[in-house]
Structures are given as C-alpha cells and as structure tokens.
Amino acid sequence: MHTKARGKFNIFMGIVKRINTSIDLNETLSLIMGGAKQLMKSEASSLMLIDHETNELFFNVATGEKGDILKEKRIPLHKGIAGIVAATGESLIINQAENDPRLYRHVDQITKFSTRNLICVPLVVEDHIIGVLEVLNKINKDSFSQADLETLKSFSEFAALAINQRNLYQRMENKAYETSVLYRLCETINSCDTIDDLLNENIRIVCEALQSDRVSIIAREGDAFVFKASVGIPPKVLKNRKVSVNENVLEYMIRTESGVVSPNIHEDERFEIKSPARYKNNSFVATPLKLRSKIVAFLCVTERKRKTPYQQWDLRLLEMIAQQIMENYLHSQLTEEFKNKQKMEAELAITARMQQDILPKEFPADGQLDIAACTIPAKIVGGDFYDFLPLGQGKYGAIIADVAGKGIPAGLFMAISRSTIRVHFAHTHSPAKILELANKHIFADSRSGMFVTCFCCILDTQKKEITYANAGHYVQYLLKSRTRQIVFLHTQGKPLGVFPQETFQEKRLSYDPEDILVLYTDGVTEAVNAKFEEYGDRRLKTRIRSARESSSEGIMKLIIDDISKHQGNAQPFDDITLMVITLKDPGRVEAKLRVDSQLRNVRVILNEADRILKEVNAGKEQASDVLTSIDEAFANIVHHGYENRPDGIVDIDMAMEGNVFRITFTDEAEQGVPPPLPPTLGRALLDNKGNLGIGRYLIHNLMDDVQYERTGIQNHLTIKKKIT
C-alpha cells in the first residue's frame, strides 16, 4: 500500500473508531461530518436526513463556519443536488458548481457560502435511503476526483450503519421515556381528588417530560377558550383568562385538527405574536385535546430548557400525553359523578329513614286497640303514609293515605299532607270536616298538581263506633269477629288537593269487640307478580277472613308474607302500606263468635276463651281443663255433628257468670251431639275403636257441668267450669 493510501486508511480507521464509541446520535452525526471533511480534505461538509413525514431533507449537523445557521434548515426533496441524490440514490460529483443549474442556491444564500465543487453520496441502510452526505470545496484543488467519490461512498456506507444504529437506540430510549411519562400520568388518577388537582399535576409532568418551563391547558368554556391549568404563565396573562383563537396558532390547530411544532415562532406565519418579549425561547409545541373527535382544549408547551428546539418527536410525545390527560380527565369526571351519586343516595336514604321515622311505630291505646302498621316504599322514598293519634276520652284517629307519584316529590308532599291532616284533628273530631279543611290547605300547597287519596276514621272505644270519611281512597275492610264476614267501609269523595272547595260524606257504624279494621293502599291489591297479575282484593279478603292469628301484628305479617309470595322476584311498582287494628274490649269477660265447621276455626274460639281466662286470672289447670273441653266439643260438632262438612255454622257464646265460665255451642247439624254416654275408657283408643266418646268422657271429667239440648233444628251444648 502507498504511504498516501495508508495515511488515508489510518485517518479512516481513526474516524471509525471515534464514531463507534459514541452513543448519542447528534454526536455521531457531528463525528461523521467532521470525519468526512477531514478525510476528503474539503472546506465544509453537511449531512441531511430525510424526514419521511414531511418529505423534506433537513440539516441535522453541518460543519464549517456557517454550520450553526444551517442546523434544522429544511429543503424539499428533489430540490438541489442533495435532493436529487436523496431521491435517486445515485452519487453525484460536481466540479463546476457555479454554473450548475441543479444547485439549490437558497442554502448558499443563507450561509453566504460559495460552492465551487462538491461530492454528494446517499446514506443507505438496507436499500433504504435515510439521507445524504456532502463534502464541499476541495482544499487546494479545483476538483474532486473519482477516487474521492469512491472513498466518500465507502465512508458513507459505514456512516449510514452508524446512524441507523444510533437511531434505533434513540428510538428505544424515546419509547422508554414515553412509557415512563405515560405511567406517571396514569398514576395521578389515583393520587388526585379533584379534576383541577389532576390537571395541574398532569401539566407539571408535561413540564418535566418536555423539559420546558411553560405549559398550559386552554379549554373551551361555552364559546370562549380559557386557561384551565397552567405552569409558568405570567399572572398578567392569566388575569384575562380568555384566550383568543383568531388568526393565531390555536385557530390553525382548530382548522387543521392537528398539533403544531415550531422551532421558531418568530419565523412562523401561524403565530401572531403580540408581545414577543414573553418568550425567552422561540420554540413551541402544542396539540389539541379531543373528546369524541371534537377539540375541547389545547395543550401548549413553550420555554424549552434545552437550546435545541422542539422536534417532531416532541410533538408525538405531546400527542400521546394529551391522549392520556384526556383519559385521566374522563376518569376523574366519572369518579366525581359517581361520588356525587353516592352522596345523593346517602342523602336519599336519610330522607327515607326520616320519612319512616315520622310514621308512628307505637300506638298507645290503653288496650282498647291492638294496632300494627307498616309501609314498604317501592322507591327509597315513598308517597304512602299512615297515622294514628290518641284524641282523648277513648277516641283515636287513624289515617291511611297515598300520595300520587313516587320518589322524593311524593315523599315531600306526603310529609306536608300528613302534618296538614294531623293539625285538623285538634279542631274537630269529624272525619269529613277534617278532610274538608285538609283539602283546602293541601290544594293551596299542591302547585305541581299532586294529590293524595285518604281514608280517615275516628274510633270511639267507649261507644264502640267507627266514624269515617273517604277522599278518593279504596274501599277499606272491617272483619266481623262473630261472623268472619267483611264489611266494606266506603264513601264517595274526591282526592285531596284536586279542587279547592270540597265536602265529604261521613258514615258511622258500630263495632263488636275483636272486630278487625284493615286499612290499606292500592299498592297492596295492585302488587303484581312477574306475569303482571295483581294480588287483588279477593285474595286480600280471603286472607283476612282466614286469618286465625290472635294479634294484629300476626295478621299484618300474614298478609305481607302473602303479598311477597305473590310478587316473587317482580319489582314493586307502588308503595305497600297496611294498618291492622283489632278493636278490643279489655275487661270484657264474654264473647260471641260464629265460625264455619272447620277444625282450624278452633283457634279463634280458643283465643277468645284464653283471653277471658287470663282476664279472670284462671289457674293453669282450670284453664287447661276449659281449653281441652272446648277443643273436644268443637271437634265433636265438626266430626260427628256436621260429619266433616266444612260449611256448617257453629255459634259460640261464652261468658263469665259470677265465678262460673259458661260456654254454649249452638249448631244446626241433623245429628246433634248425643247425650252423655257411660264412660268409655281411653284404652278404647288402643284397640283402634276410634275416639267416639273419649272426647265427651274427657269433657265430663274436666268440666263441672255439661248440658245438651235440642230446640227445633238447633243443638245446644253448654259446658260450665267454676273458676276459683
């Protein structure tokens, strides 16, 4: 090898070595440029890379005196020598540059450099042109030689590889950086409580990620755009929160629906700069924030801390960040909505509880009445209510009502209606008058057209009378204890709150002890199952008539359970309200009952007998004797008198007469209870001879006196026991 050639080779290897130790792309590019200049003994060199997004060539690094001026300068592909080489991939050697029309003079004009001769070679990686390398003006010579071209070609092959490698590395580094930024943004979802906190925290991350001092989110508010969150914006600017979107970069972004990156806003026609002093650094990057593809805000970043201006990569990073900020914003908004909803629900639950609380749970009635009531709202807050008021002198007021509608408005109206009706009990004990007065006030309060149906009654426990009036409410029931028939309580009348002046009818009826008043709202009879079949008044009446429970609570539970059974899993449409009042006569030591000849009815008779026995403080053994005897007597009438026919009538009349408890059974069976037989021993049971006679034998032994009599078609069995 020639000494000259060896010298060149040594230079070549030296450059290669240096390039290989560098990691940074820009440093690599500088080394390549410097190397080319030195290797080719030229005055200047330049390296341009292709930006495939814009189809431009841009100077990444240029050496020589004017290098700095060229940095980031862009020239269109196909323009000039570099453009041609980049487009064709063919190297060019030009030795009469002054006269060559292919030269792109623009660059020389900027740099005031006069190109005499040049070599331009493509930088190729895997058949892909990534840029061009140029050396300009051979020192001390008029022209570049073919040998020079070959040397530069070899060098360029190596340079292209090095650039590609650094590019890959850079890209990976960028990706890692992007990921870490996005991760930090995601984290803020959990750490920030409010949307404002979240946005402020997010733009602080943008500041760090883009190494910039000034970041702002400018958001649409009605027709205008305002600063929603910002870092580094002078207070003077923020004072006037509104931001113009006329003939400026924001307008440009709205128009193009894309982001902007500008290395120098002073040379950028998209910017309208009113106060240039505001910026220390001229580079700018911004992107729109879109919600369902509509621009709702802008994310703007300026005042880069590094000298190098923002590049396309910064815009891409910013776009990614913008997307994440939007996600965060939506998430935060949903969370806030959810929290508000939870708060609302909590408040609703309190309202519902308050509403339940104002309905009486205890019913002081001196033993005159046994009351149970409940309301089950369809929504959390219901419109049904019941009420109960002791009025003095053995009188009690009872009300059941249903406000049209459900939910909070119905609940509020319910509270008003309840107080209004309640107040009028103080003035009058006439249910019709109470409804008339309440109607006036409720009409005045009912601006939204709400109304309430109401059944109002006064129970006089001294006269044993029920006085009632009705305002558009359903027929209510009174179960007669003696006959177990249902009496309907109803009068015509409009609901309260519909007309300003309204009068109501009033009715009065007597009740017997142990009669049961059942007050209900239409939610009871109209409770539907999954097939939309209503519970119905027939089933309700049947249930009431067949109830053998000894307390109002028991009867209420029975009905409520039956309704639940009917409803199954169906969603309740209406509030269910039920009030059961058993009309008592404490101290009364007599009872008259009429029941059908069915064994289960023995419970009603035993309940009454038990009550009287307790009333007179009968001992356990005497009570047991009486109850056992009643059981035997009734069983005999059903089994042997009516021969298990279920529709026979049995009247029971029981009373304490002095210290003797007398019970008379009257039935109309053809075969009366036969006259007492000679005692049959219980062992007859063991011999499977049936229990005919054993019941009567027991009665004879347990009671003091047993009399049987037949008058006309009736059989009378009277049994007596002295209670001591």
Binding site: V602, S624, D625, F634, L685
Partner: protein, 114 residues
C-alpha cells in the same frame, strides 16, 4: 303451637310449646312420623310447656308409640305438668306410656337398657 327438635346421641327429643289443639294435630303427627321414617326409633316428647292437650293429642301419642313398637323403638313422655298428666289419668292412659319426670331421666333410662 311450636315444635322444636334436638338430637341427643341416638335419641331425638321434641319439645312442645303452646296448645296442642285439634287444628294442629295433622302437622304434629306428620312431623313425628317423618322422624321415625328417617330412622329415629327412640323419641322423647318434652311436654313441659304444653298449655292444653285434648284427645286428638293423645291419639297422636298412641299412634307414634305403636309405630315405634313395630320397630323395636321407644317413646318417652317427659316433664308433664299436672294439668296435662290429668288428661292421661282421666282416660286411664297414664300406665300405658313410659312417663319420665325429666328428659335427662328419660335419656338415661333409654341408654341404660340399650
């Protein structure tokens, strides 16, 4: 009328509470038969809290006793208050049943002879 049951080794104890009137007989009888059908042949009926008992109740006890005898089982009646025992006595059935003053006593006797 309330009927609760508990197991004590191979003995099943039923505790009665309230009135054993004729309207409850069918369900009580069915409950006791169910226990026997499940293989419980040693039954104890605790009658301490029974308010009143009529012949329909007696009939159940007899039927259950007969059924158990077929299976070589036993029926014990326990803790009868006087007003209940009276009913047994009146119809001369007080000697027919194994009657114990407490469930513990009944269990002990059942296990002793087993």
């Amino acid at each position: 009328m309330d009927l609760q049951a508990k197991d004590c080794n191979d003995v099943k104890i039923f505790m009665f509470e309230g009135r054993l009137d004729i309207s409850r007989c069918t369900e009580v009888e069915a409950e006791l038969y169910r226990a026997i059908d499940c293989g419980n042949f040693k039954l104890i009926l605790d009658l301490a809290n029974i308010d009143c008992l009529s012949s329909s109740g007696l009939r159940i006890f007899i039927a259950v006793m007969k059924k158990l005898k077929e299976k070589n089982g036993r029926l014990g009646l326990c803790s009868m208050p006087p007003h209940v025992f009276k009913v047994f006595k009146v119809v001369d059935l007080d000697k027919v049943f194994e009657i114990y003053d407490s469930t513990d006593h009944a269990i002990a006797c059942f296990q002793e002879s087993a």
